[in-house]
């Protein structure tokens, strides 16, 4: 735990530190004490069905392992990649068992469950198009992206001299950008956003790049519709001497200075906590949570290349450093 690894507290002694337990002041005593409870006993027959879209994918496997380690229930686990007829197999399982909850990892499993539409509540994670399920009754999940506030706070912490951040986005993210701009202002940052219109937006991207200290790639499938578009945008940012921050480790290979993504074991643990709350009937409306854990990858080579001032005290927030 980090309180054992922090800087010494000069006011007391270099060897000792304090842990604190905090709570948001706007939470009332009632809501802070009754939201979730832990099941007290294992059930005789499994109540939970876990559908993994593909156990061969490391990030899906990480979520599955964390879910198993956290939930206090017997779980029937199915790797859909092993099935010749995955939809038929899932339908058979649901016909033969009375599962109280289904956990879907990945879009394939959630798509199958959406078609079958079982009576049991559904929890999902690692689904990029999670917004499509956000308003459905009985569907609860963990979103794919770390909150904008967390991403911006970490960027500010790591690079205190980067103040003007450019973003390209589509109309779908207009409200999200407006919210991010408000947060940025609270952090002493400025987001210069440009809404893309038409297929030739990349040709005009130089104008925005010239006005900012860095470019921020957000989750917007209309903007970066292909790997080729992403490569071209990175190339243009590099030509303009602008570092790129991004929301997914995929962009590390394209030259991101830093990527801030969801920590996948944490999403599995969150899904388990959510599942336990559903099984103990303490949730009665759809719940969508942001990922509670972040995974920060820092490319030091790019830091040096763009001559960014890095706050080295912030390195304890970095999970992976790419040094070469």
């Amino acid at each position: 735990m980090n309180w054992l690894t922090r800087h010494p507290v000069a006011a007391t002694t270099k060897l000792l530190n304090l842990a604190v337990m905090v709570i948001a002041v706007y939470l009332t005593a009632a809501c802070s004490s009754s939201r979730l409870s832990t099941p007290t006993a294992h059930q005789a027959t499994p109540r939970v069905l876990l559908l993994n879209s593909d156990q061969g994918i490391a990030r899906y496997q990480a979520a599955q392992q964390a879910f198993h380690a956290t939930i206090n229930e017997e779980v029937v686990t199915v790797d859909l990649a092993d099935q010749r007829n995955p939809a038929g197999h899932v339908q058979d399982l649901l016909n033969q068992n009375r599962f109280a909850l289904v956990y879907c990892i990945g879009a394939k499993s959630l798509g199958i469950i959406d078609d079958i539409n079982p009576a049991a509540p559904v929890v999902y994670s690692s689904v990029l198009n999670w917004r499509r399920f956000a308003d459905l009754q009985r569907y609860h999940g963990i979103a794919s992206e770390v909150p904008a506030a967390t991403q911006l706070a970490l960027l500010r912490y790591l690079f205190p001299e980067v103040r003007r951040i450019g973003v390209f986005h589509s109309a779908d993210n207009r409200a999200w950008i407006s919210h991010a701009q408000q947060i940025a202002g609270q952090l002493g940052l400025e987001i210069k956003a440009e809404e893309i219109r038409g297929p030739r937006w990349l040709e005009r991207s130089d104008a925005l790049l010239a006005k900012v200290d860095a470019l921020w790639i957000i989750s917007d499938h209309n903007t970066l519709a292909s790997a080729e578009t992403a490569k071209t945008l990175f190339s243009k940012a590099d030509q303009a001497g602008r570092p790129v921050f991004a929301y997914h480790p995929f962009f590390n290979d394209l030259g991101s200075v830093v990527t801030i993504s969801a920590d996948l074991p944490t999403t599995g643990r969150q899904a388990a906590v959510l599942a336990m709350a559903l099984l103990s009937n303490t949730i009665d409306a759809p719940v969508i949570q942001y990922p509670a854990g972040s995974y920060v990858t820092l490319n030091l080579r790019q830091v040096f290349k763009y001559r960014l001032r890095l706050n080295e005290s912030a390195l304890d927030s970095v999970d992976l450093i790419i040094a070469r």
């Binding site: 604190v20 337990m21 905090v22 948001a24 509670a292």
Partner: protein
Amino acid sequence: LVIAASGSTELAKLILEAMLTDRPDLASRYQLLSVPKDIDALMAVTFGMADAALSNELSLTTLTDLYPEQGNTLRVLAKSQPLLHMQVVAPRQLGSTEHALLEAIRQMKRTDQGRRSLSMLGLEDWAAMDLAALPGAAVNGARSKGVQP
């Protein structure tokens, strides 16, 4: 009650147990949500993924300095007793490998790579430590030597 905490769940439970001795109602029914970093635990509370967070005091100060709108929404419920920082311990009789390792640890602050590694651990430097001088830090006769940040 969901409490977000970074690092070892076993250690978090031990610390919470000690902190909640006068709150048996909470101590018996919280659910721990393990997250990678203190900032994640604190942000999990502000975004509603957890009801409370267990964190280093300095992390809370850092968040409040960096992002007052978030940090100031948090209220400290309880504080632990002082806790030891990370320790490196080794047998008193050192072989050449252990000696080289301890020396590398002592020299970390003298190189860029070493300083960055210390920062990743949230440390400034290591210091030699006298276990016997620590208040209440009985080591049960262990014959060891250590360095301490």
